[in-house]
Symmetry: C4
Subunit: 220 residues, 4 copies
């Protein structure tokens, strides 16, 4: 079922399509495992009140930025999972560089719980300076996550043998537009958040999540 | 095997049933991953005694609300997994809105370890006011979990093409009754727990878990 | 592929064997997910030294009970996974009571990281009284894990339609011997550890892990 | 589909190849689950600043060893996953000793988040003595991870019936060279790091990750 992958070469088209699909599905399964864990780790970032008897309710109410951050983080991972999923539907084979570029994307996605937790903490217990630092961290990591898709789409564009025959030449080049827009806007958000006010950055974060959600099946 | 999902349209019935089932099974696998992780994260909520030499045994005995909360939380996730599982057995295809509504359910289920841990902590170290706050938190999140099933069942009712042909019209409308009962009773539990006594809320929580367990294969 | 399970009835033998196997494999996949997570959560129980500059090396050396506990815990989960795996190889169908009895086993296995961490902490930082408390906790949870297999094996014995045709009548009754031996010896270990010396209990724990490992493919 | 494995015997070659492959794929799925979780747990090792209002940004900047450690740890797990994956592609069957030797490899890989976190903490908050202790810990665990592959490759060499027919005699003997080189270099890194300077050890760690990455498809 599973066949050896020749690295750094285009796979001959004569390989049994079932074999190649098996390979693809295995990598996708690893990715799905990572997505499932990221989604669930977000709940660990929700602030647990340090209990001093009689103050639990107040503490829980003050935790609202955690709850909001959880909701946004969850939607964000959902969007990335959908994007990832729709990319895999176009593939029929993989090779070693593809696997590594794909791991790079996973490695940036797996970071999400970290800036999400920091952002929530800054808005709950921090002052304006802390919130500025936290939105810059979030923006940089989100820009990194966008950036990681660029080499992946470019590699798929250059190696059409990895895609199913019905995928039109130029598809991935068009998709490149989305992570590039993302990188620019996240960097702009970092600037806005640091030099103007952190709330502007948060607005951009929400806009970007919606943008990625609406274009998750690709731009046409 | 896996086919592209057309979003926001009813899927044509001529699609190969194997292809559509493959899609369904992949989403179900993601959900199963999330369920497996939630089940296992519950153990992290069990209170680890802060060791002061010679007091471990007493500390462990005082941890009983943690153990009880673990047992109840575990049964609860088990029940939701079963409900989820029986819903998927009726499906033959998916589309983008369905995936998002399904993610919404997952996102509320993934919260379980949080109120479970807070509840156990309140009954171990807190006073009556803390326990009131904790049961209200638990009731609100449980009501949210119930609420998340409402749009999912309604969408399945409105889009019969997603279900297998043997699923009778009206099946999902009947199932809607269960999350609606859940929402009402959880909100009642919040009121009882806050204004009367937290123990009443806990009784409703246990009753609801049993109700959902007994009806996990659907109401007829 | 997946078919509805009739609860509380013996499954008719005419069901397509593929359908029933599909069901079995899905539940097994959920269990494998839980096992994979438990195995990996054990590493979180390894004591991280609280850093006071210049003392890391000493702190790391004092952490040896953590390392030993990790090794034993890992072997233990491995043994339970093997036992679970060999049981599933005999099955051809499942029903609702089986799923619940199986969840009960999972729920006790998922506890392993908790007593493992407490045991390591007691041997690192605690006194003799703490170690006694910790071995009793470990023994009770291990006895519970053994106990959870009893109803599962008994149910399989009473419902031969769940097993493949080549499974001989009486197989599961014979297997019952193993969890029963386990329960008795773990309770004996609790007594020895509490009234005599905790080290005796640890010896029984190691003996039991070896016993379960050697008999993981069943007793003949 | 899944068949009983006879332990400690070479599997008869007449077993249906599909059956044996099913077995292999199930074990691989368990391993993939563990890999997915390890990859994602690394993010939990990233230092979360303890918030004192107004200092978040400084704290985040001081966290750079955490970020570097995350990147290296992620690449490392990726490399091991690839190595593991390419080994499985050569197999057609498994038996009980193979499963245990494979679990041994998993058990050492699952440790990665622990020394990774300690290393980052030592370079962030510790003095030179702490860094020496941390690189020695890292080197020992990495040497252990390399060592765990030796019995696995040797067993596969001695039991050719587990491998696909196209795998040439002597393949695994040649692969043995890689973990042996790893063990020697990691032990040398421990010596260099402890007696000379921790930075030398870190250089060896990076060199080894690159060496394993470049040879992940085996030496020819």
């Amino acid at each position: 079922m599973y066949t050896r992958i020749k690295s750094l070469k285009i796979l001959p088209l004569r390989r049994s399509p079932t074999a190649a699909l098996g390979e693809i599905h295995r990598i996708e399964a690893l990715c799905d495992g990572v997505f499932a864990i990221i989604i669930t780790l977000l709940v660990l970032e929700i602030h647990r009140p340090h209990l001093s008897p009689g103050h639990l309710t107040t503490e829980l109410l003050k935790g609202w930025p955690s709850y909001l951050a959880y909701a946004v983080g969850f939607l964000y991972v959902g969007v990335v999972w959908l994007n990832h999923h729709y990319m895999y539907e176009k593939l029929q084979a993989s090779d070693l560089p593809f696997i590594w570029l794909n791991l790079l994307v996973l490695g940036t996605v797996a970071l999400i719980p970290f800036p999400t937790g920091v952002l929530a903490e800054a808005f709950r217990d921090g002052d304006l300076a802390d919130q500025k630092g936290a939105v810059v961290l979030y923006a940089f990591i989100a820009a990194l996550m966008s950036a990681a898709w660029v080499p992946l789409f470019y590699y798929l564009h250059k190696n059409p043998a990895l895609s199913k025959s019905e995928v039109v030449q130029g598809t991935y080049l068009k998709q490149l537009q989305r992570p590039l827009v993302g990188m620019l806007l996240y960097l702009a958000a970092a600037g806005l958040g640091w030099f103007v006010h952190p709330v502007f950055a948060v607005v951009v974060f929400i806009f970007m999540a919606v943008y990625y959600a609406l274009t998750s099946q690709g731009i046409d």
